[in-house]
Amino acid sequence: MYINFWYPIATSDEVNNKKPFRAQVLGAYFVAFRDDAGGAHVLSDVCIHRGGALGKGWVRDNTVVCPYHGWRFGGDGQCTHIPSLVDEQDKPPARAKVDSYPVQEKYGIVFAFLGDLPESERPPLLEVEEYEQDGWRANNLTVFEVNAFYERSMENGLDPSHNEFVHPAQGGPVVPDLRKHPPVVEDNPWGSRFLVTFANPLENKPELMTAKHLVSDVTAGSGHVGPNGMITWIKLSADSMFSQYFFEAPVNESLTRIFFVSMRTFMLEPEMDDRLTKLNLLIAQEDIDILEELDPVRTPDSNNEEVLVPSDGGVIHYRKYLAGWRARGWRIDLKTLRAERGDRAYAIPSPARRTSRNWVLKSVPLLSS
């Protein structure tokens, strides 16, 4: 798990100005709430007084109120009110603050930048290019949880050779084509992508297709932006395409919450939304059944502990990017975190830590660069 990327925290519907929303991401807890102007805020959830969960409290006057002793925190993370201070004139001290994270709200999702990079250095959020574009329809946002480590889920999406076996109802014989034409992976500053061609997986699902969409070869591919943003493209013909975006939140070492945005250029009738969601979830369940049993839970640190072949090109590139981010000192030290679990609460460092000192919670331990 890596700091300094954008992570989905909640759906827009889950965040309001009455009841805060509590989420675990990267093993740490966060609280999301709205101010009265509608702006969303994401803060570290641990009250720095005595460890209360802000996300179990309530929202009042643009602040989140701790349910334990009523301390209030503004969207910037600064404590604005400590009820038990004896003198009414007493201002909460400067050290009474929690981390507050940059927020972007898009596609019905509240994203937070979980890291301390200044704005100019931050990686971009994976962009849904087709969103609100002519000819494209967005299906309803779908959120689901998988009892697996998010990198296993990401690698599954970057792996064209599993389809034939894990998704027999969808996949034609793909592997022979892949042997001839292994994926050619294109590298970008924050991720990589590839396209492959194989037999139409929907050929035996005529009820989903009109005749003009049926072609025997389809182009498909996938890519990632950052460690946790994934896209898959399926081009069944020039005018029938899916672009599917997976914004993955590593809840902890063994649980992943996936925010799924699916775009399409055909079957545009609104009543197709639910049918396609159902189909997508059925396909996802086939992946989940495999992913939840993988051993070890987390991808091995060295590729020598697996046997990788040319069709794993997408996975190999993804791991190279992860190694690059680790070299920058962004990878969370899970072993230290695990050893101290229950004894110490850590915070993911926010950008304000670069400019001010004196934070109550220690910054999460990172593997040295």
């Binding site: 509590r22 807890y29 959830d45 641990v46 720095i48 007084h49 005595r50 460890g51 209360g52 969960a53 996300g55 179990k56 109120v65 701790c66 349910p67 334990y68 002793h69 009523g70 400590i82 009820p83 038990s84 201070l85 004896v86 003198d87 009414e88 050290r95 009474a96 050893a339 101290e340 679990r341 229950g342 004894d343 110490r344 609460a345 109550v360 919670l361 220690k362």
Partner: protein, 300 residues
């Protein structure tokens, strides 16, 4: 006394024994002394003379929460949480003049405690309002304290004549589970027909605490106060932590990290007083953090 596989007449080896601990029954509970101190050195069981007073009526309540027991002890000794965690007791910060009075601690050999005044809303049940003689808002004199690491007392005086006194005996089942044996007494509405009323109210209030305590991070209180933000209202908690530090300095604190590392490999026993006098025990004594005081000389 009998080891079937050796046959009926075999001599049973000396080493064949398990630890046995001093036991005392009080307040309807079986208390066990888990440790190896000689009788003269042992902390006493918390004294609650009201329990045997005919003017007092007690109920017993047992609860199990998924928390570290110290979080619950500190919660009891925290006067500032009532206003927010318990809408039954406080005003959720709605009154602009809310503050927490200065705490004046009174120490005993085995703990600390305090009493102070709190503004409280009217009691919810009509019969409690009548029984206590307090109709509307009022000042409640309340306080709490600890006795040893795992026992707390709470006194709530809702009027001059209507008092609640409660004692909670915490058993840390393990690092993340606390079993609390509580006895809660009152010197008004003593008729046992009111027991259910008091039980319902106590359970209702306890549930408010559980909702705040179970999600706390980290599960165990930080080892250093600098990792939290303590205020004057947290004075009793600070003092409680000093007592705990003192017991740790005695070499009495379990080495949780070592126990965790050896889990599934070694079964440890809490040493019983007999270990001071005899050797040759099968199970090793539980690992303890090294104290920094000269060892207390074994007596006898």
């Amino acid at each position: 006394v009998r080891l079937p596989s050796l046959g009926p007449d075999a001599k049973i080896p000396d080493r064949t024994r398990v630890d046995a601990y001093p036991v005392e029954e009080r307040y309807g509970l079986v208390h066990v002394f888990l440790g190896d101190l000689s009788e003269a050195e042992r902390p006493p069981i918390f004294s609650a003379p009201e329990y045997d007073d005919p003017d007092w009526q007690f109920i017993a309540l047992n609860l199990e929460w998924k928390i570290d027991y110290k979080r619950s002890v500190e919660n009891t000794m925290d006067p500032a949480h009532n206003e927010f965690t318990h809408p039954t007791h406080g005003f959720m910060g709605a009154k602009a003049d809310y503050t927490c009075d200065e705490i004046v601690l009174e120490d005993t050999e085995w703990g600390t405690g305090f009493m102070n005044a709190m503004k409280s809303p009217p009691l919810p049940q009509r019969e409690m309002r009548e029984g206590s003689g307090r109709e509307g808002d009022g000042i409640t004199y309340a306080g709490s304290g600890n006795h040893g690491p795992n026992v707390t007392w709470t006194h709530i005086h809702i009027s001059d004549q209507a008092w609640f006194h409660g004692v909670a005996f915490h058993t840390p089942v393990h690092e993340k589970l606390d079993r609390m044996y509580g006895i809660f007494g009152r010197n008004f509405m003593q008729d046992s027909k009111y027991d259910k009323t008091f039980e319902d109210r106590s359970l209702y209030v306890a549930e408010q605490d559980r909702n705040v305590l179970e999600p706390m991070e980290p599960i165990r209180s930080p080892r250093r106060n600098a990792h939290e933000f303590l205020l004057p209202a947290d004075k009793a908690i600070k003092r409680y932590r000093e007592y705990c530090q003192d017991w740790e300095d005695n070499g009495w604190r379990l080495d949780i990290n070592k126990i965790r590392a050896d889990k599934d490999e070694i079964a440890y026993a809490i040493p019983s007083p007999v270990r001071r006098r005899t050797k040759g025990w099968v199970m090793p004594a539980v690992p303890l953090l090294k104290g920094n005081k000269p060892a207390v000389k074994a007596v006898g």
